[in-house]
């Protein structure tokens, strides 16, 4: 029995992965129950081809114009029904370990990745997963097999951050590595060099990928509610900073908001989607909001 198999059979790993999978399923199905419509249609909505009607097909997709011309029933098939590939790239650097409440940014990101993987595989599209820090640490090649879901969950659940962040080389690498156009979903706090990051995003866009950047932040990182004397210990081997946060709160807010706005506007300038997420937001709400947004923008 090889190490990988042992890991898969590790009861704790299984439990972790199943818990993550169950959570993701719970979130996604909860969302679907409220929506009553296929949520995953929102990802790829370009018309692809016609196919002859077969019993059981949704009559709403019948192409009545073709039927009028040919008196035969054809169903419109969209790109979504073709296998698109979603590349889920999760930042697993040490900065993602931060969490002021019950959940860290990484745990939130893992949950988010798990939900997206569940959604995508559920619509029979392919998902590839990469977890990275300074380089890609975990990679699962694309697969549309639902059975692959457990492996995704297992990888996500088992990952522990150890290093700092270097987003740009990772994204450049992915841009070079991914042959087929797809959707690249990057889940990170993006605490990295902004210019390099934008160049790498531009690289992905150049390769024809749609890029969705989901920025996961802890509420404390946004609100900075600390008082008294605080010694901030950098999570990525950065030197400690001792200060009285209450006295620099405004300055911090200013700097942090500037960073977020700059990132959002730069990312959107490159026709990428930017989604800001707080770890105290319910994940289903976040996904629903974003998917609704995509649906509306897709027309």
């Amino acid at each position: 029995m090889d190490a990988e198999t042992r890991k898969l059979l590790d009861p704790r790993a299984i439990a972790r992965a199943e818990a993550l999978g169950m959570n993701a399923r719970f979130i996604v199905e909860g969302y679907m129950a409220g929506e009553h419509k296929s949520p995953y249609r929102g990802f790829a909505i370009e018309f692809a081809q016609h196919r002859e009607y077969a019993p059981g097909d949704d009559v709403r997709h019948l192409d009545w114009k073709v039927q009028a011309k040919t008196e035969r029933y054809y169903i419109k098939q969209y790109e979504q029904e073709t296998n698109f590939v979603a590349h889920l790239l999760l930042d697993g650097s040490e900065s993602m370990k931060y969490g002021s409440g019950e959940i860290s940014k990484l745990e939130y990101g893992k949950m988010m990745a798990a939900c997206l993987a569940y959604l995508i595989l559920h619509q029979r599209d392919a998902v590839a997963l990469g977890i990275f820090d300074e380089e890609v640490q975990e990679y699962l090649p694309r697969s549309d097999n639902r059975d692959n879901l457990f492996r995704i969950m297992d990888r996500l659940a088992g990952f522990e951050p150890l290093r700092g962040t270097r987003l740009a080389p990772v994204l450049h690498g992915m841009a070079g590595q991914i042959k087929r156009k797809g959707i690249v979903i990057v889940i990170s706090d993006f605490f990295d060099d902004e210019e390099e990051l934008l160049q790498s995003v531009q690289h992905l866009r150049f390769k024809g990928h749609e890029v969705i950047m989901m920025q996961v932040l802890d509420p404390c990182e946004i609100d900075f509610p600390f008082t008294g004397n605080v010694e901030f210990e950098g999570l990525e081997d950065l030197p400690i900073i001792r200060t009285r946060p209450s006295q620099i709160k405004k300055s911090y807010h200013r700097e942090f908001e500037k960073f977020r706005e700059r990132l959002r506007s730069d990312v959107e300038r490159h026709q990428c989607h930017f989604v800001g997420v707080r770890t105290d937001q319910p994940l289903d709400e976040v996904l629903a909001n974003y998917l609704t947004f995509r649906k509306s923008t897709a027309g």
């Binding site: 940014k105 004397n229 950098g234 999570l235």
Partner: protein, 698 residues
């Protein structure tokens, strides 16, 4: 600049507190793991200089505030500054009320003038001043209530005591030392009576020391005295005062004044009633003394006042002197004969009986001393309480039961005299009376041998019996038992010329014990047929009787100690001054003493007779207080001495008309605590505003 609480300047060390707290705070950080370090770093870099500057400003303000607070609490005083609110004055006023202050001046006395001066001093003090008022003997607690102090000035009463001014000054200086005030003033209002200044140089030096931190004023009152006759001695010449038995009263009068006195009548009074004709002093020159003998008799059993008085000088306190005497109808003495002999003249007590009642047989029944003789075998039926004294004369063994009764009897106030002799068995006395009861302070030597040569007896230095050494010189003592010091306390009254003890005196409970180690008959000496024997025996008896009245005549200011029956312990007693029936009595309580109860009274400041009424006792006890003899000398400090004092203290001659309102004019010196407090409050406000301002988010 001075500090009233100099020790609190140590509080300046507290300036380090904000620094220490600041340093400690810098070390005390809550640790937070953090991801968004770059934004934090930028923010800190942008604000660091400002934060440091704010820290320094706050630290300086806090340190300054604490330094000012410590400075304030040390109560700085700026000399030469006046009119600053919050400045305090502490004053001590001593009003001399010693006997000399009773000297008459026109219609007033020196004390009345001193009280006027004290009122003037008080009115010159600013409101809120803490004033410690003291007489020469009793001090009041310092008070800020000037009206109360004024009423206390009026309550200071004349005494007939001699004052120790140094002690009064020390008390006042102590009182001032304990007070925190910018200005401290000490006023001594006195007649500058020289005897009270005692060692002038020492007192002058002490005043100089006190004047280092206190403004001392010497306020003198009174004009020089020219005439002062005083009764310098009053001695009733009787050992056992008895009812209707006339006795001699020896009186000495001294002229302490500067002028001759003539035709001064000296009267003798018993219980306030003049007895006989007055003694007229024809002329008494300054510094001279005259003695006279007056006669008195006591009309009834019990306590009586015998007073001698004269009139017509400026210092009245020593013109009158009283003694208290306790008259007894009969004094009963039990003579226990240890060697009765064949004939009366051979008996051991023959000479004793005649010495105690030296009158013919037919007059003995009326004689105040009633001796009765018993043999040892008859002791069982004898009630000891009927007798004032018991004499054991050459008694061989003390019967066991009798020893117990004897101890109880002496403890209750009886007297015991032991004469030795050939029959006396030392072991019996040593065992029962010394070791068992402690009645004898000494032991008899069992194997005493007669000295080779006859010895003579000489009175000891203290000579408590006031025996005449010349009379004793003719007595030959051939034999005596040896006396050895035991566990008890005793006073030697007689010694042989070789230094051996002959007679010792001791107390037991309320009673008295004498042990004489030679015989009362002629077996061991020829004392009984010598002239010294009768006064010897009578003085032994007199000492026993007087023992009960011990402490009935004391000097003004001394503590009266009267021993009473042990059963009276804890009983309340009231002491009245008899010459002022309106005066309130002093309440006191009899304390428990050794085999007795003790009345102690230390407020006998005036001369004269005092009456003590003990609850449950029908007959009151009287005692007399004589004025201090040291006060009779009218001399006051000379101009040279006053000049010397003037170098360190402010001299003030009190003249009520011209120098009213003069006190306090030169008072200067102001406390700075009030302005400093305002500065501290301002600093505290600045600190609060800055702390709020600096801690706001930027």
């Amino acid at each position: 600049m001075n500090f009233l609480n100099q020790a609190l300047l140590w509080g300046l060390a507290a300036v380090s507190l904000p620094v220490v707290i600041h340093l400690l705070n810098r070390r005390r950080f809550r640790k937070v793991p953090w991801a968004a370090m770059r934004f934090l770093k930028v923010s800190v870099e942008q604000n660091q200089r400002r934060m440091k500057l704010e820290d320094w400003i706050l630290l300086l303000v806090r340190c300054a505030m604490i330094a000012l607070l410590a400075f304030l609490m040390a109560r700085p005083v700026m000399e030469g500054l006046s009119g600053v609110p919050g400045s305090k004055v502490a004053a001590a006023i001593i009003v001399d009320n010693s006997a000399s202050m009773g000297t008459r001046e026109n219609d007033s006395t020196r004390l009345a003038r001193a009280q006027e001066a004290a009122h003037a001093i008080l009115s010159g003090l600013p409101g809120g001043t803490s004033v410690a008022l003291a007489g020469a003997f009793h001090a009041h607690e310092a008070s800020n209530d000037l009206a109360l102090v004024a009423s206390r000035i009026d309550e200071i009463s004349q005494t007939d005591r001699h004052a120790d001014l140094q002690q009064s000054l020390e008390g006042a200086a102590r009182s001032l030392k304990g007070q925190a005030a910018s200005v401290k003033e000490l006023y001594l209002v006195t007649d500058a009576h020289a005897p009270e200044w005692g060692n002038f140089a020492a007192l002058e030096a002490r005043l100089r020391e006190i004047a280092m931190g206190v403004k001392v004023h010497l306020v003198t009152v009174g004009a020089p005295v020219r005439s002062n006759l005083g009764i310098s001695s009053l001695r009733p010449a009787v050992t056992l005062p008895s009812v209707d038995q006339p006795f001699r009263v020896d009186v000495d009068v001294t002229n302490h004044g500067a002028v001759s006195m003539s035709a001064v009548p000296v009267k003798l009074l018993v219980d306030g009633q003049v007895e006989g004709e007055p003694w007229i002093i024809n002329e008494l020159k300054p510094g001279g003394s005259q003695s006279a003998t007056l006669y008195a008799s006591l009309p009834s059993p019990g306590y009586h006042r015998v007073t001698v008085m004269l009139e017509g000088d400026e210092m009245p306190f020593d013109d009158r002197r009283t003694v208290v005497m306790n008259a007894r109808e009969k004094v009963s003495v039990l003579l226990v004969d240890g060697d009765p002999g064949q004939e009366a003249r051979d008996s051991e007590t023959f000479f004793l009986r005649h010495a105690l009642a030296p009158v013919p047989e037919e007059e003995q029944a009326d004689y105040p001393v009633q001796p009765s003789i018993v043999s040892v075998s008859d002791l069982g039926g004898e009630n000891l309480d009927q007798h004032h004294a018991v004499v054991l004369a050459n008694v061989a063994d003390v019967p066991l039961g009798f020893a117990d009764r004897l101890a109880s009897y002496v403890e209750a106030g009886g007297g015991l005299i032991i004469f030795a002799g050939g029959n006396l068995r030392p072991e019996s006395y040593n065992t029962l009376l010394h070791r068992k009861h402690g009645l004898l302070p000494i032991t008899f030597s069992p194997d005493g041998e007669a000295p080779a040569e006859p010895r003579r007896a000489v009175p000891t230095e203290t000579n408590p019996l006031e025996l005449d050494g010349d009379l004793l010189a003719g007595v030959m003592f051939r034999d005596a038992l040896g006396l050895e010091a035991g566990d008890g306390e005793y006073r030697p009254a007689l010694r042989y010329d070789d230094g051996e003890l002959a007679l010792v005196e001791s107390e037991y409970g309320r009673g008295k014990v004498f042990v004489f180690n030679s015989s009362a008959d002629l077996d061991w000496n020829d004392f009984a047929i010598r002239p010294a024997f009768v006064p010897f025996v009578n003085r032994l008896l007199g000492r026993i009787i007087q023992n009960r009245e011990n402490g009935l005549n004391v000097e003004a200011g001394q503590t009266l100690r009267h021993r009473a029956s042990a059963a009276l312990a804890g009983r309340p007693a009231t002491v009245y001054e008899m010459r002022d029936p309106e005066a309130l009595g002093y309440l006191t309580t009899l304390s428990e003493g050794e085999g007795s109860s003790v009345l102690e009274f230390d407020r006998a400041d005036r001369a004269g007779a005092y009456q003590v009424a003990i609850e449950g006792e029908a007959e009151p006890v009287l005692f007399s207080v004589r004025p201090s003899e040291r006060e009779s000398n009218p001399e006051v400090l000379g101009s040279q001495q006053l000049e010397r004092l003037g170098a360190s203290v402010e001299l003030f001659r009190w003249d009520s008309d011209s120098n009213k309102g003069s006190f306090g004019k030169e008072r200067k010196g102001a406390e700075l605590w009030w302005p400093l407090l305002l500065v501290v409050i301002v600093f505290a406000g600045i600190e609060i505003v800055l702390a709020q301002w600096f801690s706001r988010s930027k």
